[in-house]
Subunit: 359 residues, 3 copies
């Protein structure tokens, strides 16, 4: 059964095809209005995320399907201690496809290993959120006409921002992407991501949004959270310089595309909303369309009963166990710890659920 | 975009038309069963209100539409601090019409100013609840054949009872309405409402339900909450005299219409339910039908893309700010305080969101 | 109005008919896909129970109907103190059938006495859960071809396990059922149930799962909760012996049917899931189909407007009152305590709501 757990579960041609489907849906909504008639989406949200959940629900409804599920763990069997694996098996009896949000990393993957229906990862802790990345890619494609030959600035919390990491990773598969990393010292992009996905000469780092702005085709804003700073005065000093307002925008290109994964707090001034370059609410709309395309794709593949296993090359060893307290292995009953050898020379393994390193 | 925030957003002819539509729905449900096919209602309930929410949901489903949303703030983005304005913009991507319940006064108005789709106020704190008033008007019309020439008693907590205030205000636009205000001293109708909406000679005040009963065509009961009394003994003394039971009902007209916004606690004895004069459960049913009529009207107007601004004549001033802690201005980010001049002589302004006075 | 409060509200031929309908649904789903078009199910869950709720919702959706409701009491009017009777009356305006879960015993019965639409008991405290029992009966019938001539073992907490009690009671109406009761001393089946529903020579009691296994056609597993034990060491000692694993299974028949009402914690090893004898996830699927059959039956009877009163022979007396703190009579406003005389000689009465004894 084909699921979507990480953006890398999709090849570049598959992503291109999803974008094409989404655009066709936008132009011909009537054609798709009954495509999922009698199909049911289960939204299993172990932690609340209204926008993501409603985006999935709207997507399924606009395909003519229906929706059931829960919006937080307290109204679910999880409160009674049912494992993710068992819930996935039971929900397979009630629905045709699952969208799962879970605070533990790897939980949707565990679900996909046990469900008889496709599972879409709707966010697992700070780990993956592939439909956000698909949303971002569709937005860039619709605004710029392509996913190549772009200068894209990422601004704010680049250290912990999951959506930033995913989008950088996803864009690394396209041509001539120049990346400008705009953040305070304390919130710089982790070296591991930089080294793996960005080539020398194709990125630069800066602390100044104003300095970066003139060169950008796309500006991807994220929130800087006070909690991330060890020094509160440092936070106060920096806060305003990472807020996008109409004044700073005078420095930008006329065809800049301003993106934000939302919810926004104060990192983009409300006055910017009226600027035609503001695309963050369009992004929310694109999120619905790309999810429609994705649901269609996965249900079609499920009907063909195509067997698909993305993670068959794992190993199990008594000497290895995942130590990440945020990993689903830390709570799920009888879940075998499984690993991939990612660096044979240094004997580095990664947990197949949360992808954290184990030596 | 036309929304419904206050009952006064609707003219008397518009209310009459809604009542006619509701009656047509009751007589010809099949005619309406697919009217909202492929339309989606978002129920954004920042605080729980099951009856109101389910009434909206049943209304949309009986029109052939579908529903998404949340039933309390903890499962919504509000927990992450998203502004009402942003939520309204995002939900505009996912639904065709919004029903919003919010603890802060003016929140649905803020939503209506930012949404691209119609917003129905499903209750904003103690401020407005126009679909309850529409429900009451439909009930009176169905029971009495008209909204004029009636003696209507309001009993219980007339001081804080939002539904009472709204219905008195709404009825003030009809002919020959006599009002009997039945309450303890401490819970009398506020003078401001009495002076504005009731004419001398067309109302009287009394503390005795028994005294008032014989004259009434309609009795609108509300709950007296213990918390409202400074003196607990006073509460105990009064409590029973404001409970409607079968004995007191012997004093009433044979065609009395007994109404109650529900939920009822003990202000109407369960034994009264069997009396043919009891109309409070019929009211709940009418609530569904008038909401169907309202959803139809607003979606039809939205399709015509009729631009509508009910509050364009406001002013903004550095010397004015809303001090009402229950107003949405107290929490919403970057929300400009706006005011209407309501009394030029005394320079009295009212906040356009919560309508509280500012000097 | 016909409702389902207890499994005994259904005659054996009625249960047989439901099983036949369920099987027909399984074989001809298309035939049923629009049977409940324009019908609405209200899921009124005063306490969370995801599996049961989603099973009902999936059932209604697969019949072409739609769903509204709430999944826990905090988002319901119950928080404001509305009685179950009033809620049932109001929901009758919004839906065509109710599935109610409530922590108080007898609450769905109170709802059924007040609703104008059928009420299905989806679990009332430790009292009844008839759709679970129907699910179990369908599963046995599908796996064994009949509900007679079977040896069925119940293992685990037989003292408090509601599903076990109900299934034993339900099976007592079929031919040649041999029951093996497998539990620690402290969690034996209550004598009252044993005496009433099991005949001498048709049951045996044992503490050993291993001893019982070879003779069984069906093994019904339940969880042993630590909280049930006064002595923690006793719990630790016993725990493992009531866990079904692949090793113990070597003792069992090749055509054993393993059942469990779910959620499972650790009383069945995950390794057993792959054994073809494991039927607990099939059970979850059967739960959907039998609920489809039940919804169809009750809506059909409601359309015929067949008046039905299962509890007309009650008495009310000043000297009798229900003392069960878990009974709905302990909280519901103005609810008359009603009793049935179940033993004339000893003057034993039972509350018609919770069925507890009153002398």
């Amino acid at each position: 059964m084909r699921s979507l757990i990480s953006i890398f579960d999709l090849s570049v041609p598959e992503i291109d095809a999803l974008i094409e489907t989404a655009k066709d849906i936008i132009e011909n909504p009537d054609k798709y209005a009954e495509k999922c008639k009698r199909k049911k989406l289960a939204t299993l949200f172990y932690e609340p995320s209204t926008r993501t959940r409603l985006s999935f629900e709207a997507a399924m409804l606009e395909l003519g399907g229906s929706v059931l599920g829960f919006s937080e763990a307290t109204s679910s069997s999880a409160a009674k201690g049912e494992s993710v694996a068992d819930t996935a098996k039971v929900i397979s009896c009630y629905a045709d496809i699952i969208a799962m949000r879970h605070p533990k990393e790897g939980a949707p993957f565990v679900a996909s290993e046990n469900a008889d229906i496709p599972v879409i990862n709707a966010g697992d802790g700070a780990h993956n959120h592939p439909t956000q990345t698909l949303t971002d890619l569709l937005t860039i494609h619709r605004e710029k006409g392509s996913l190549s030959n772009l200068t894209i600035g990422f601004c704010g919390d680049l250290r912990y921002g999951r959506t930033v990491h995913s989008l950088i990773e996803a864009l690394s598969r396209y041509e001539n992407i120049n990346v400008v990393l705009i953040s305070p010292e304390e919130l710089k992009l982790p070296a591991s991501i930089r080294e793996k996905y960005l080539n020398e000469g194709e990125y630069k780092e800066t602390v100044s949004l104003e300095e970066a702005l003139p060169s950008l085709d796309i500006l991807y804003m994220t929130r800087i959270q006070q909690e991330r700073f060890s020094d509160f005065n440092e936070y106060l000093k920096l806060k305003d310089s990472y807020c996008l307002d109409t004044e700073k925008l005078t420095l930008a290109k006329e065809d800049l595309t301003i993106m934000h994964p939302l919810p926004r707090v104060n990192e983009i001034s409300v006055a910017v909303d009226k600027d035609p370059r503001a695309c963050y609410f369009k992004q929310a709309l694109n999120g619905k369309y790309i999810r429609m395309a994705l649901i269609l794709k996965l249900l079609e593949e499920a009907e063909k009963d195509s067997v698909y296993h993305s993670n068959e090359d794992y190993i199990v060893s008594d000497s290895l166990s995942c130590k990440n307290s945020k990993c689903i292995t830390s709570v799920e009953q009888e879940l075998q710890h499984k690993f991939k050898l990612v660096d044979a020379k240094n004997k580095v393994y990664r947990c197949i659920y949360c992808e954290s390193k184990v030596n």
